[in-house]
């Protein structure tokens, strides 16, 4: 096939409409004390201490900043164990036994609306920083840095596109808590003094649009619009969303703030609301468990820190007749495959996919050009691949491999079933 891939097709026949969300309260939670930015940590609690929801347990330390670690349950500290995080890295986690009382820490208090209205940019940025909020769409970029921008922002864009197939955690969030998103958006607009707000959703998600539009009626005083974008992959990629939703083309590699735009994922927006209104860090999130190798796929609302192995058990486990499977955090196109299922849900875990592992037979490249036609950043993956094979650094640079956003389309479309994305990744590493 020589053509651009517009949609990522559903040939694994995964369930689109998952059973309605349920809430799980685990016996233990495991809270990550490290991540790829922070390799060290300090603890403020010891084994046996009792803790409450929202209490500070310690700090992740990195070379640039420290981020506090908050408890997501009330219970007792049981010590440090090793688990996998959302990137498949083995990290130290604080194990806490849940006492199911859900007692909140005294710092968790509501701020009155009038008080919030009077808050300055610095106040809000400080709260967001203190609550360790990061981009929940997957990039995990600290939200306070974005909010603290000096550029003049005219539009705040809330990205609810969720373009990867089979994911529905953002969908659930919007259906259940649309008012949080609107209020979060209004707080963000207040912080950066932006006159306009846009919520971008897929055209095809009729139910979502209905909910959002009804909610929109309640906030007539604000200039908030719902932008219906086309159902393409990778429409959820920030630049694509900006282009479709507000019609501004941000060149790859440049900051959207320069163009007066500020983008946040919907879950991030909701978490900003929680932090500012209730002074609450992220303790729960929606999670999709899906895939052709799990018995009962479903959407679940979970505590941050829940064991993924437990959750898979809750979905009736893996299908029996499968001998090779992949456990993926994130979507099928950009998600990270884990070396084992002994992982935990972190605040950026949107989904766990369990897919039957397929061996693809690679053939010689027939230069069909599908990868070139499909690449959203308009580079030429096949030429990059050939340059990487020749170890030709100069050509890789000329071909702008660094622009690649690793959307995975080039490998997805490849007529010869070559893992082109991997070659482009190698190219990116080659030119550092």
């Amino acid at each position: 096939m020589i053509s651009k891939a517009k949609r990522v097709s559903d040939y694994k026949q995964l369930t689109k409409q998952l059973p309605s969300v349920r809430y799980v309260d685990p016996e233990f939670v495991y809270l990550t004390l490290m991540n790829n930015r922070c390799t060290d940590y300090t603890l403020e609690v010891e084994e046996g201490d009792s803790v409450k929801v929202g209490e500070i347990l310690g700090e992740k330390c990195g070379s640039f900043f420290e981020t506090p670690v908050y408890s997501t349950v009330s219970g007792t500290v049981e010590g440090v164990v090793k688990k996998l995080d959302q990137n498949g890295l083995e990290v130290d986690c604080l194990k806490i036994r849940n006492n199911f009382k859900d007692e909140t820490h005294e710092s968790i208090t509501d701020r009155p609306d009038a008080f919030i209205k009077a808050m300055s940019k610095e106040d809000i940025v400080d709260i967001v920083k203190e609550k360790a909020l990061v981009g929940l769409g997957g990039a995990a970029f600290p939200s306070y840095i974005k909010l603290n921008t000096d550029e003049a922002i005219h539009t705040v864009v809330i990205n609810a596109v969720e373009c990867e197939p089979y994911l529905s955690s953002d969908y659930r969030l919007i259906m259940d808590q649309p008012e949080q998103i609107f209020k979060g958006l209004i707080y963000i607009m207040q912080t950066v003094s932006a006159p306009k707000g846009v919520i971008a959703v897929k055209k095809t998600k009729k139910a979502l649009i209905e909910v959002l539009e009804r909610e929109c009626e309640r906030y007539k005083d604000y200039d908030i619009k719902i932008a219906k974008v086309k159902d393409y992959y990778p429409q959820g990629w920030e630049n694509a969303t900006f282009k479709e939703a507000v019609g501004i083309k941000v060149p790859v590699g440049e900051l959207p703030m320069k163009y007066g735009l500020l983008g946040f994922n919907v879950s991030t927006c909701a978490s900003i609301y929680e932090a500012i209104k209730h002074n609450m860090p992220i303790t729960k999130r929606y999670l999709t468990i899906n895939g052709d190798a799990v018995n009962f796929p479903q959407d679940i609302r979970v505590r941050v820190g829940t064991s993924i192995r437990e959750l898979i058990k809750l979905c009736d486990g893996y299908k029996e007749d499968i001998n090779k499977l992949e456990v993926i955090i994130g979507g099928p196109m950009m998600g990270v495959a884990l070396p084992s299922d002994d992982a935990i849900v972190t605040e950026t875990t949107t989904s766990v996919l369990i897919l039957k592992s397929t061996e693809y037979k690679e053939e010689p490249c027939v230069r069909c050009g599908s990868c070139v036609y499909s690449c959203p950043v308009d580079i030429t993956p096949v030429s990059i691949m050939n340059a990487v094979k020749r170890n030709d650094k100069k050509s890789v640079e000329l071909l702008e491999a660094n622009k690649c956003i690793e959307c995975g389309l080039c490998a997805y479309v490849c007529t010869s079933k070559i893992h082109v994305t991997d070659y482009v990744r190698k190219g990116k590493n080659l030119i550092g």
Binding site: V8, L325, G330, G335, P364, T380, S383, L398, G408, H419
Partner: protein, 353 residues
């Protein structure tokens, strides 16, 4: 035993993306022409096609048997380099056969096929590595080395012995061709002399439509090739007295232009990988075809044009300007080249006429 494997993203693949599907579609799209060739040229067409396909398949087979002997011993039929399984060598063979004239001696067909696949494909490293269109290369090799033996038979009127382009080569603006062949004859291919498979524009369009619907070729390429020839011939027509619209028609429907545009200039392996690159390439094919026909003595310009343009593919795909988007700059350059070409051809044509 269940095992968790770790792979890098993406974790999905496009279901319909398979080399075999693409190549098989080309083979299917060629079938009406094969049937038509045998119908209008009889058994000789069948022998030519068999010799063309057979010589290429056998050469590739023997080549890999020998190569595997040299390397580690055992040849395996499922060797991914041996491209019989995905139809690609069959497609090359069929195209090669279909662009041969019907009176060609079988041994010439075989020698062209063997040398073509060997020189144009295998020594470059096999499937995906070839620079030249294999069928086109084989055809040119056959033509150049056995020029004397290549000749057309006109089964309608053997004495006329001239193809449309043969007539046109003597005087490109003579409407004498129309006395022998109407435009409908050229379009349908019924009763037309010429290579065994490329005479019916109608069936070529059907094949092209099939590949377009199956997305098995890049439809821009034939459109641009045909468009370029149409514009150039229309410009020449307007600039020359006494030449009517039939001139545009004969240019488009004769001499295998359409066949070359649909089946040969679209061979992805030997054309650029970007959309703008493919458009430049197709423009080049159209321009060269027209120029060769107008000024040269070799009427079947399209095969030459394609093989010549194949040489420019690395330059078109050069890292520095290989982009999948048109920029203002590339658009202006391309526009300027196009305008200069049209003027050049029109001025040149006034000397020919």
């Amino acid at each position: 035993m269940m095992e968790i494997v770790q792979k890098s993203s993406p974790h999905l693949r496009r279901p319909n993306a398979r080399v075999i599907r693409m190549m098989r579609d080309v083979a299917i799209a060629l079938m009406p022409l094969v049937v038509f060739a045998i119908y209008s040229h009889g058994l000789s067409a069948l022998w030519i096609l068999l010799a063309a396909v057979g010589s290429m398949v056998v050469t590739e087979y023997v080549y890999y048997v020998i190569q595997d002997k040299i390397n580690d011993g055992k040849f395996q039929l499922n060797n991914p380099s041996f491209s019989l399984y995905n139809y690609s060598v069959i497609v090359s063979g069929l195209i090669y056969g279909l662009i041969l004239p019907d009176k060609i001696p079988i041994q010439v067909v075989i020698i062209g096929g063997v040398v073509g696949v060997l020189l144009a494909k295998l020594i470059f490293g096999g499937l995906g590595q070839n620079i030249f269109n294999i069928a086109g290369f084989a055809r040119i090799f056959a033509a150049l080395s056995f020029g004397a033996m290549l000749g057309y038979s006109n089964h309608v009127d053997a004495d006329a012995g001239a193809t449309v382009l043969g007539v046109l080569a003597q005087n490109p603006f003579s409407d004498g061709v129309l006395e022998n062949y109407s435009l409908w004859t050229m379009f349908s291919g019924l009763g037309m002399p010429g290579s065994i498979g490329e005479t019916s524009a109608l069936l070529i369009l059907v094949g092209g439509l099939y590949m377009f619907l199956r997305k098995s070729f890049d439809v821009y390429v034939p459109l641009v090739v045909m468009g370029t020839v149409a514009v150039l011939s229309a410009a020449v027509m307007l600039a020359t007295d006494g030449v009517g619209w039939w001139f545009v028609g004969t240019q488009l429907f004769s001499g295998g232009l359409m066949f070359g545009a649909v089946y040969m200039a679209t061979d992805p392996i030997t054309i650029p990988v970007t959309r703008p690159g493919r458009i430049y390439f197709a423009f080049g094919v159209g321009l060269l075809t027209f120029v060769i026909r107008l000024f040269g003595t070799y009427p079947e310009g399209v095969v030459f044009a394609i093989v010549i343009m194949n040489m420019f593919v690395p330059a078109i795909d050069y890292a520095k300007w290989s982009k999948n988007t048109f920029s203002l700059k590339s658009g202006l350059i391309f526009g300027a080249v196009a305008v200069i070409s049209v003027i050049g051809v029109v001025v040149g044509a006034s000397y020919v006429g």
